[in-house]
């Protein structure tokens, strides 16, 4: 991460209200191209709301927001072409095979048949899933499903991938392998925007923001945060922030 800093996500004074409830209170932050940006916060702090707005799944109440160079108010279609999204449910279709799932999403993102064929073969090879490509998703283990869901989310080589609590319910070893995959994705120039509950995972991020009750209370590198909150690890940082 050297050289000029390019802001792939730029958020200024983003507000989201549901009736009188303020879910996002004047959020201002940016995400740099190619970094892993951790978006932390307790349940109900407003993470998912903010992330849905950035993905074009809902409209903000006010604020200036640019994602991948496009305005979230008028250019959602353009944004959607440039992003990938993975939800906490590792949403793949249970009754379709591994291969069919890959090809379905690739098709939705407008990839040509030839390109799909090559990329699919590469992907299956890399994940070591070639032998089960014709198995239904419901028959494969959760860990594989998760990796596959992530691979599908970046199959079309998006500029940014949004991961909504991508490691829920999987074992520590699989989680570690998963973060290696995330890291590999950044090497291909993909920016990663990730929400998580696991504070040890926050350590893998280049920068971390912590939301408390709809506001961003802290935003820095993990090292910087530990220093300013005089904590040994991110867990302590989080607890100090969440309690105040």
């Amino acid at each position: 991460m050297t050289g000029t800093l390019e802001h792939i996500i730029e958020v200024r004074d983003m507000v989201k209200k549901f009736g009188s409830f303020v879910a996002n209170d004047r959020l201002t932050f940016h995400v740099e191209k190619g970094e892993i940006f951790g978006f932390l916060g307790a349940n109900g702090a407003g993470k998912t709301t903010a992330m849905r707005i950035l993905c074009g799944l809902s409209y903000p109440s006010s604020g200036e927001i640019m994602v991948a160079g496009h305005n979230v108010y008028h250019e959602r279609e353009k944004i959607k072409r440039k992003i990938g999204y993975m939800s906490q449910k590792f949403s793949l279709y249970d009754d379709l095979t591994v291969s069919e799932n890959i090809r379905l999403y690739a098709g939705i993102y407008g990839l040509g048949r030839k390109e799909i064929n090559t990329r699919e073969a590469q992907l299956l090879e890399r994940l070591g899933l070639t032998h089960i490509k014709n198995r239904l998703i419901r028959e494969i283990p959760l860990g594989w499903k998760q990796k596959l869901a992530f691979s599908v989310a970046i199959f079309h080589k998006p500029a940014i991938v949004f991961l909504d609590e991508p490691t829920g319910g999987v074992d520590p070893i699989t989680r570690r392998q998963f973060w290696e995959m995330i890291h590999d994705a950044t090497l291909e120039g993909i920016t990663v925007f990730v929400t998580t509950h696991y504070m040890d995972e926050a350590e893998y991020c280049d920068r971390v923001s912590i939301m408390v009750e709809g506001r961003i209370e802290a935003l820095d590198t993990p090292a910087g945060l530990k220093q300013s909150y005089e904590s040994r690890n991110m867990n302590e940082v989080f607890l100090k922030l969440a309690r105040t």
């Binding site: 799944l57 959607k80 999204y85 939705i108």
Partner: protein, 368 residues
């Protein structure tokens, strides 16, 4: 465009890989039509009749023979005491008892009048009524034929004909009704369930975050069901024709077009349901309870609308099936053209537009 077709293909895969869906889609219509056609019937057949002939003369014996040769009745025994009537009913061996008075023939000849008592087990009111009507019909016919040359000072002969359904077959009534019911059920239920399934599994979020437009997603989900419902409509018409000899007197094309309209209506209703149901169970419950029961009870499918209390009559006006049944009966049985059903068609069209607009509106609210 290939994006959209890929999506539709996936929807077909969902359908053809799920046995339960297939059973509902293709098994249900066939089972329902066979069941309704054979079981729920307003015709009578083989009703057990007991005879208490107190005169045993030629006229009463011939009348008895007429009853049993009509094809509707079978003998349940001959009685000779009053008490046996009650016994026969209690044991369930007979539904009707016919009592000829003493000196039946003599009275008939001498005074020109003789009486027959029909006693019916009315614990099942409908079939009692039916059996009694049929019996009366058979007896009247017989006695009229006995003395055509009688010179009464005046006589009125009532000749009745049943237009559009000469033999008063029950299936004539059920085929249009079942079509309305099955198409509504399959189209609305299936679409609402399949859309909420995507919500439940989280795949809807993924689709919404993809370059697919919301209307493409909905259209993609609905398209397979348009085809399959149409196949269903054809199956019902074909089964009705082949198994129950229900004709299509009017234009088959017009009938198909009207079916298409009704299917579209049901599908948009399904989409509307899916916008408010969070889980498949809720969607199923809403479709079953909210659509199936009212469609059966209030559409005029089984119970005549004119006999309902006024408030229920109003309620039945908002049942799409009510108008569709009128249309189908008109085309299939009466063979009328569009001129006679444009009003009902317009109502269905209006309802369809309303459901589509409401669904789009709700869908947008959800995005906010």
């Amino acid at each position: 465009m290939s994006r959209f077709f890929g999506f539709v293909k996936k929807e077909f895969q969902h359908i053809f890989r799920d046995v339960r869906t297939l059973v509902i889609l293709f098994g249900l219509p066939i089972v329902m039509i066979i069941l309704f056609g054979y079981v729920v019937t307003t015709e009578i057949r083989d009703v057990e009749v007991g005879i208490w002939d107190r005169s045993m003369d030629q006229a009463s014996i011939q009348a008895t023979q007429k009853i049993f040769s009509s094809g509707y009745f079978v003998p349940a025994g001959y009685l000779d005491r009053e008490e046996q009537i009650g016994e026969l009913f209690r044991s369930g061996r007979a539904k009707v008892v016919v009592v000829f008075e003493t000196d039946f023939e003599k009275n008939l000849k001498r005074e020109n009048r003789a009486s027959i008592r029909l006693i019916t087990d009315a614990s099942d009111a409908n079939s009692a009524q039916l059996a009694q009507n049929y019996l009366q019909g058979v007896l009247m016919n017989y006695f009229q034929s006995l003395n055509p040359d009688i010179n009464a000072p005046w006589s009125v002969q009532v000749k009745s004909r049943m237009f559009y359904n000469e033999e008063l077959k029950g299936v004539y009534m059920f085929v249009p009704g079942l079509m309305a019911l099955i198409l509504m059920l399959i189209s609305a239920l299936m679409t609402s369930v399949t859309i909420t399934r995507e919500k439940e599994f989280g795949t809807m979020e993924l689709l919404l975050a993809s370059p697919l437009k919301p209307r493409e997603i909905i259209l993609g989900k609905v398209t397979p069901y348009v085809f399959l419902s149409f196949v269903n409509a054809l199956t019902i018409i074909l089964l009705g024709f082949l198994v129950f000899k229900v004709p299509v007197v009017g234009s088959l094309w017009l009938l198909m077009l009207e079916c298409m309209l009704y299917i579209t209506l049901a599908l948009s209703l399904g989409v509307l349901i899916s916008t408010s149901a969070k889980t498949q169970q809720v969607a199923m419950f809403m479709s079953m309870l909210g659509l199936m029961l009212p469609t059966i009870l209030l559409s005029g499918f089984i119970f005549p609308i004119d006999n309902m209390p006024l408030i229920l009559q109003w309620f039945s006006s908002i049942m799409p099936a009510r108008w569709f049944i009128v249309i189908v009966k008109n085309i299939m049985l009466k063979g009328t053209g569009f001129v006679y059903i444009w009003k009902e068609t317009l109502i269905l069209l209006g309802m369809t537009l309303f459901f589509i607009l409401a669904a789009v509106k709700r869908f947008n609210v959800r995005l906010k």
